[in-house]
Subunit: 179 residues, 2 copies
C-alpha cells in the first residue's frame, strides 16, 4: 500500500467539496426511501443518511439537501414514512434517486396508510413518524423524526439489506458476514 | 412470507424502545470510530451513525448517547477524528464498542496528529473536523462536524468497508456487489 493521500487544512474553509466527497466514498450506508405528502401530492427521496438517535424516545434522523426536488414537501410535512430497503427493493432505491421523473406514476407500487401518508408497499420494512426537530447545516437540513408506527416482516432475519458504497450498490447476506 | 408484523401507534409516546430497536435492526450502517481529547485524555467510541450532510460546507454528523463513557469528552472537544473502518479494522470497531476497558492502553495502535487529536493509525481512512453544532434529542446528541482534513488511502477503491446489521458484522466486497 502506498502512503495515504493526505489532505491538509490549507484552505480556510476546510476540505473542498470534492475532497469531502472522496472521503465519504470510504463510508458505507444503509439505504432508505422517505415519502411524505404535505397536501400537494406525494414525494419520495432515496437517502443514505438515516440513523437511529434515541430509542427512548424513539427518534431517527436523516438529512435532505435543498437541491432535492422532494425537499419542500418533506420539510413541510408533519409526518413521514421511512422505508428500509433490501436488495429486492433496488428498483425503489433507484426510483427515489432518479431526477426529473414522476416517482408515483406507477400507481401499482404505492398506497396510502390509514393515516394518509404515501408509502411503497413492496418495501421491506418501514417506520412512520412525526417530524419533531430540524437543524439547518449549509444547504441541507437534518430532520429528526419521532417513530409512531412500524411494519417489520416476520422473516426479517433472512433479509438482504441494500447498502451503498463508493457509487456502487451492495447487498448484505450470509456471504458478507465476517467470522 | 407471513404478513408483516405491524406495530400500531397505540401508545401515546409512539413505539416502545424494543419496537424501535427491532425496526432499526432492518437498517444497515457503515461503521466509524470517533476519537477526541478535551484535555483529560483520549476517548474513542464506535458509531453506526455517521453520515455526510453537506459537501459545501463539508459537514458530517453523528450521534452519541449520554450513556456512552466517551460522551462527556466528545461533547466537550473542539475537534474530533472520525475514522472510516474496513473489515481489516474490525478490532478497532470492537475496541470502541467494548465497555469498561481502557481503549488506549495499547500505545502501539494510536498516535496524535500534529494538531493534537488522538487517532488510530491502522484505520482505513479518517476525517479531522471541528464541532460546529449540536442537537439534543432525548438522551442523545447529534453532533455536526466541519471537516478540516482527511486521510484517504491511494488504494481506496479496493477497500472492504465494515458494515453492521442486525447485530452482525459484514464486509462489502466484489462478492456483495449487485449486478
Amino acid at each position: 500500500m502506498n502512503a495515504p493521500h493526505r489532505i491538509e487544512d490549507s484552505v480556510s474553509g476546510g476540505l473542498t467539496p470534492d475532497e469531502f466527497k472522496a472521503a465519504f466514498r470510504q463510508h458505507a450506508a444503509g439505504i432508505a426511501v422517505i415519502t411524505g405528502d404535505a397536501g400537494n401530492g406525494p414525494v419520495a427521496m432515496t437517502a443514505s443518511s438515516v440513523f437511529s438517535v434515541s430509542a427512548e424516545p424513539p427518534v431517527l434522523v436523516f438529512s435532505i439537501s435543498d437541491a432535492s426536488s422532494a425537499a419542500p414537501t418533506l420539510l413541510a410535512a408533519e409526518t413521514l414514512v421511512v422505508h428500509m430497503l433490501t436488495a429486492e427493493n433496488l428498483d425503489l432505491a433507484i426510483l427515489g434517486a432518479t431526477s426529473g421523473i414522476d416517482r408515483f406514476q406507477d400507481t401499482s407500487i404505492w398506497a396510502r396508510l390509514p393515516s394518509g401518508e404515501p408509502y411503497f408497499t413492496a418495501a421491506h420494512a418501514w417506520l412512520r413518524g412525526r417530524v419533531v426537530d430540524q437543524m439547518q447545516i449549509g444547504n441541507s437540513t437534518v430532520v429528526a423524526v419521532h417513530a409512531l408506527e412500524a411494519s417489520i416482516p416476520n422473516d426479517a432475519g433472512d433479509s438482504q439489506p441494500l447498502v451503498y458504497h463508493n457509487r456502487t450498490w451492495h447487498k448484505l447476506s450470509g456471504n458478507s458476514k465476517i467470522h
